[in-house]
Every structure is written in structure tokens, then in C-alpha cells.
Amino acid sequence: MLDHLNNLINKIIVVIFISIIPFSVFSEEKNNELLEINWSFNGIFGVFERSSLQRGYQVYQEVCSGCHSIQHLNYRNLYEEGGPMFSKEEAKAIAAQFEVIDGPNSDGEMFTRPGKLSDKFVKPYPNIEASTAANGGAYPPDMSVLAKARAGGANYLYSLLLGYEEAPSGFELDDDVYYNRYMPGNKIKMSSPLSDGLIEYSDGTESTTEQMAKDITAFLVWASEPHLESQHKMGFKTIIYLIILLTLVYFSKQKVWSRFNSKNKLEEDDEDTFDKVEEVVTKYEGEDPKSFK
């Protein structure tokens, strides 16, 4: 009776699992697969390519910064370790290109002065409302943490920049709305920002759309995670250290435990002891007890 019950339960469990698993697997929506690039900053040893970050800054400056802010970056970040690593002089010169509102001065007046290394990146608009109003009602998001704020991260940003297409027939678009393969809902207010030869790279690299998309994406990933390189370096060292420590601790533990086990000899290798007992008991089954020495 109980065996039957047991069998029945087994069957019910199998049926539940078999009926649930395919639903979960096949009901996944098929998303538009993102374009994938073997980014240099991915993986345990991932680091940025300096030249790519420097070009990325140029793309940001010449193309994106008209609408998009990066309010959490400082100009000093441009020369700091792990970033584009412009020289300090270059970074100073970049900062000085911008007008920063400062004050109030001793007369109580606000004034403008050239940017300094300690300043935040100057925003194209004073506030979100101004920015929204100037861009047809769609706020161009601040790009400080954009690479972390979108599912798919770097691949998503890269795909989006290259995802502009003719809308399929029957797909309705309002004025000043564009079709993008990778944008959720496929509608985007930003017109395709990149085109071949749009800017002239100061290092002479050919400015194809793909190249610019790649560089700006790398730049935005760095902007989102300026300590990514030290994070990877420290991570590798820490984990190697911990693995060595774990090995030492594990063997110390074995050593300490062997003390207890030898104090309780009988308990050692239980498995073995029981095998022997079984062997002996079986061997002498039905025999004269006297022969049992």
C-alpha cells in the first residue's frame, strides 16, 4: 500500500516537473539579439583601450554633448588612472574650453569663468525641464551611468547606435520619431546621431559609424564605472590570495580534525570498520561460536 503511494507520488512529481519546465523555457520572449562585441574591458583582466576612450571623449564632445549631460564626471577624471588618461595639461586645456558659472562673489554677483579640473562636466542645459523643452518633449538622459542603466549595457548602447532602420511597412511613426531595431518599442526620439565621416578623429583613425559607436560606448562604460580597471586588478589579486588562504585553512582543518579522529580510533574510517564487521559476521554465519577467536 505504502509502496503504491510512493510510486504514485513519484509519478505525480515527474508529471509536475515535465509539464512545468517546457512552459518556463519556451515562453521566453524572443528579444532582438543585441550586436555583440568582444569589449576589451570585459572579463577578469578587462582594461580600457586608452586611444578608444580618448576618441570616445571626442565623439561625446562633438556629437553627444549638445543634448546629453554627463553630470557626475569631473574634468580631472580625464587624466586620472584607469580613464582616457589625457595628460594633465590636456585635461586642463579641455576644462578651460568651458564656461562655468561660479559665485556669488563678494559683491553677491554670479560670474562666469573658464572651467577647472575640479569642475563637473558642464551641462548643455541648466535643468531637466529646459533640456526636455529643447528636445521636442523627450529628455536626453544624463549619460553618467547610462551603461549601467540599460539592460545589455555596452552591447545595448552599441546596438542602439547602429540600430536605425527604415520602419517596416505598416509601422506608424509620428513626426520626429525614428525607428530603431534595438530600442524597446522600436520608437526613439533621437535621430541617428552617427554617420560615416561625421567627425575627424584627432589621432587620424577613420571615423566610420561602427568605429565611433565603439569608441563612444567604451567612453560611456568608463564614465559609468571610472574605477573598473582597479576593480578588476584588485579582484584578481584578492581572489588569488583567498584561494591560497583557503587551501591553507582547509589543510589545517584536516590536521586539527585528525586529532579528534585519532583520539576516537574506533570512529575512524567507519565505512571500513563496518565492511570488516559485515565480512566477519557473514563468514561465520551458522558456524560454531568457539571458532570465533
Binding site: 549595457g153 574605477h227 579582484g235 584578481f236 581572489i239 579528534f260
Partner: protein, 428 residues
């Protein structure tokens, strides 16, 4: 508890200990007898203590730089990430630490379910543990609100709105929780205050949890009582300390792998978008560790019903020691319970998966099935199993051979009966 009275060696120590027995306490903690057959699933108590301390220490540093104001919270997090020395490390340890804390607590809870650690005489340990778990959830939820991202804001809105389902007084309670008429600056401030307070209450409960554990001592994989101060137990120090340390290091390696190489995979990208009360995210989802309850909440067609079932899903666990009427603790000797244990685990994971999906179509149907199963498991299956399940024979002691060799005990007994009355001395 060790039986012999501990007396410190030096006069000074005796003087101190007779006034405040800290040395006796320390001695007790070192000598505390633990069953020698505890497996690595028993190391999660130590791991959880580590998690709690890590959260408190990192949280303390974060609190020095964080600004609890709707206009500055998001910015102050970026300040921590970029400009505070090793701020990124401290924040990622704290954020991933919450996830690892829950990972460990779920393993700890399911360990208890499998080996029947909640049964007499350990009901209070179990109940205090559940209180800790509830506090953890409250703390984690409020902590997730602090960065003031989109999921922070909308998660807070959804969860606090649940209270409005309470008849008559619901709306007033919600307004009272918010400190206004929507989730806003007063809400953020009080969440910050409570997020700082609750971990210290948790520390208090952890002390009670361990205290109540040290009265009956640990359960063990076999689930039978061990003879204390025999060779069935070993002192906590150094044996368990070394074993716990080994497991802890493995845990820390996994933990730090997330921190250094995938610090954001357990979070939601939307939380890197600053909170905007005018834009609702496409899908509002809580952190992964709350998803099973979120699935239960949404599986019930009425709001009030959903809230009741969600809270019932936690409260029902308090009754577990009395719902499970089986005298046998460990699932090792409960062939049918063991199967249902795995089904329950599967269903809870399934609920977690469904909690992240929109509540429609097949997802909704599956959530209802899994929710129903969850309650059936505790309310119907466990009481019935206690009555009708035929459990396997229990060994006499935790080192009894019957465990490994079924049928051997009978043989040994048979053989032994033959020698009854014989000279035992010849037997060697």
C-alpha cells in the same frame, strides 16, 4: 553546555569572573559540544553572522557619505562610487552583501526544513530565526529605497501601497507610513532611519537565536539526540571554528567574485535611473530574494487577498513545528517527506522566477499552482505525512553502522545472541 563548573586560573580572572562571568561565557563558547557528524550545510550560521557584521561595518561607512534627501540621494551614491576612497568597493560589498546574506539565509532555512531542525526542543530557535528573517526583509527593502533610483521609488510605492488594502484604516496607515500623500522626502528619511536601526535589533535577535541554540545543542544530519560530552560531540573550538572558517572562505570567494566582476548582475538596471514620480517603469520588480513572495502577492486576484496570502506565506512558517507532526526529524529517514521537500524547493524557486515575469497568461496560471502547492505542503501534506508516512528505522547513535549497511544490524544482533552468556573476554 559543559557540565563541569569553569573556574578561571588566575586570582584576578576569578575576581572578574565572579562579578561578570565573561570568561565563563568565553569558555562555554569554546567548549560548546557539537555533534561530530555535522556536514557543511551546518556552516551557514557562522556565514550569516559574518554577513551581518559585514553589512553593519560597510553600512556604517556608507552612512558617513550618503545624503538622505530626494534631491541628493542619487547624486551622493555616485559621489561614493567615484570620489570616496574605495567607495565603489564599500558600496558594492554592501549591495551584493545583501544578496549574499539572503542566499545564505535561504540555504540555512532549507537546511532546517530538510533535517527537521525546527522540531522539539528547538521551536524557539526556529521562531527567533524567522523573526530575524522578517527583519532582514524589512531592512533590505528599505535599503533598496535609499539610492533613490526608479526601482527604489516604485518598489517603495508598490509595497507601501499594499497597506492601503486593509479595510477602513488602510488609507490612513499608508499616509502615516509615507509621512505625506505619496512616497517622498519624509518617506526616504524614515526609511533611512529605520534601515540604520533594524540591523542592531537583528544583532539582538541573533544573540537570542544562538543562546536558545546552546540550550538543546545542535541538531545533526541523522536528527537523533546526541550524547553530550561523549565521543559523539566535539568542542566548538577548534573543530567547528576551523570547519566554519573553511566554508566561510569559499563563501567569501563567491561573494567577492560578484563584487569585483559582476557587481550589478543581481540588481536592476532601472535603479541607475534617478527616481521620477512621473515615469513608471515597464515592470516593477523587487530584488530577487523577495520575488517568491511577490509572485504569491500577484497570484491572488484580489489586492487584500494577495496581501493576506503573502504575509500568511511567512507566518505559516511559525506554525511549522506543530504542523509537521512526524516524530522523526531528519528527512534522511523520511522517504516521502524527502520527495516533497524537493518539490517545495522547486516550487519556491519557480515562484521566484515567476515573480520576475509579468502576471499574465501562463505565468499567472503557474504562480497560482505554485502558490497553492506552497500552502498545501504546509497545511495538508505535512500533517498527513506525520500520521501516515512509514519512516525508515533510526540508528541508535549518530555513529551507528545501520546507516550505511541496511540489514547489517539484524545480522549483528543475531550473531550477538548466539554469544550470549559466553565469556566476552575471548571476544577480541
Amino acid at each position: 553546555m559543559s557540565e563541569e563548573k569553569y573556574v578561571p586560573k588566575s586570582k584576578l580572572a576569578q575576581w572578574f569572573d565572579s562579578r561578570l562571568p565573561l570568561l565563563t561565557l568565553s569558555h562555554h563558547l569554546q567548549e560548546y559540544p557539537t555533534p561530530k557528524n555535522l556536514n557543511y550545510w551546518w556552516t551557514f550560521g557562522g556565514i550569516l553572522t559574518f554577513c551581518l557584521i559585514t553589512q553593519i561595518v560597510t553600512g556604517l561607512v556608507l552612512a558617513m557619505h550618503y545624503v538622505a534627501h530626494v534631491d541628493h540621494a542619487f547624486e551622493s551614491i555616485e559621489h561614493i562610487m567615484r570620489d570616496v576612497n574605495y567607495g565603489w568597493l564599500i558600496r558594492y560589498v554592501h549591495a551584493n552583501g545583501a544578496s549574499m546574506f539572503f542566499l545564505a539565509v535561504y540555504i540555512h532555512i532549507f537546511r532546517s526544513l530538510f533535517y527537521g531542525s525546527y522540531k522539539a526542543p528547538r521551536e524557539l530557535i526556529w521562531i527567533i530565526g524567522l523573526l530575524i528573517y522578517v527583519l532582514m526583509m524589512a531592512t533590505a527593502f528599505m535599503g533598496y529605497v535609499l539610492p533613490w533610483g526608479q526601482m527604489s521609488f516604485w518598489g517603495a510605492t508598490v509595497i507601501t501601497n499594499l497597506f492601503s488594502a486593509i479595510p477602513f484604516i488602510g488609507e490612513s496607515i499608508t499616509t502615516w507610513l509615507w509621512g505625506g500623500f505619496s512616497v517622498d522626502n519624509p518617506t526616504l528619511n524614515r526609511f533611512y532611519s529605520l534601515h540604520y536601526l533594524l540591523p542592531f535589533l537583528t544583532v539582538g535577535l541573533v544573540i537570542l537565536h544562538i543562546w536558545s541554540l546552546h540550550i538543546p545543542g545542535n541538531n545533526n544530519p541523522i536528527g537523533i539526540d546526541v550524547k553530550k560530552n561523549s565521543n559523539e560531540t566535539m568542542p566548538f573550538h577548534p573543530y567547528m571554528v576551523m570547519k566554519d572558517l573553511t566554508a566561510l572562505l569559499v563563501f567569501i570567494i563567491i561573494f567577492l567574485w560578484f563584487v569585483f566582476f559582476a557587481p550589478n548582475v543581481l540588481g536592476h538596471p532601472d535603479n541607475y535611473i534617478e527616481a521620477n514620480p512621473l515615469v513608471t517603469p515597464a515592470h516593477i520588480v523587487p530584488e530577487w530574494y523577495l520575488l517568491p513572495f511577490y509572485a504569491i502577492l500577484r497570484a491572488i486576484p484580489s489586492k487584500l487577498g494577495g496581501v493576506i496570502f503573502m504575509f500568511a506565506a511567512i507566518l505559516i512558517l511559525i506554525l511549522l513545528p506543530w504542523l509537521d507532526t512526524s516524530k522523526v526529524r531528519s528527512a534522511v529517514f523520511r522517504p516521502i517527506y524527502k520527495k516533497f521537500f524537493w518539490v517545495l524547493l522547486f516550487m519556491v524557486i519557480l515562484l521566484g522566477y515567476l515573480g520576475a515575469k509579468p502576471p499574465e497568461g501562463i505565468y499567472l496560471i503557474l504562480s497560482r499552482i505554485a502558490t497553492a502547492y506552497y500552502f498545501i505542503h504546509f497545511l495538508i501534506l505535512l500533517p498527513l505525512l506525520g500520521r501516515y508516512e512509514k519512516t525508515d528505522p533510526l540508528p541508535q547513535s549518530i555513529s551507528d553502522p545501520v546507516l550505511d549497511k541496511p540489514g547489517l544490524l539484524d545480522k549483528v544482533k543475531k550473531a550477538a545472541s548466539k554469544y550470549e552468556g559466553e565469556n566476552v573476554g575471548s571476544f577480541k
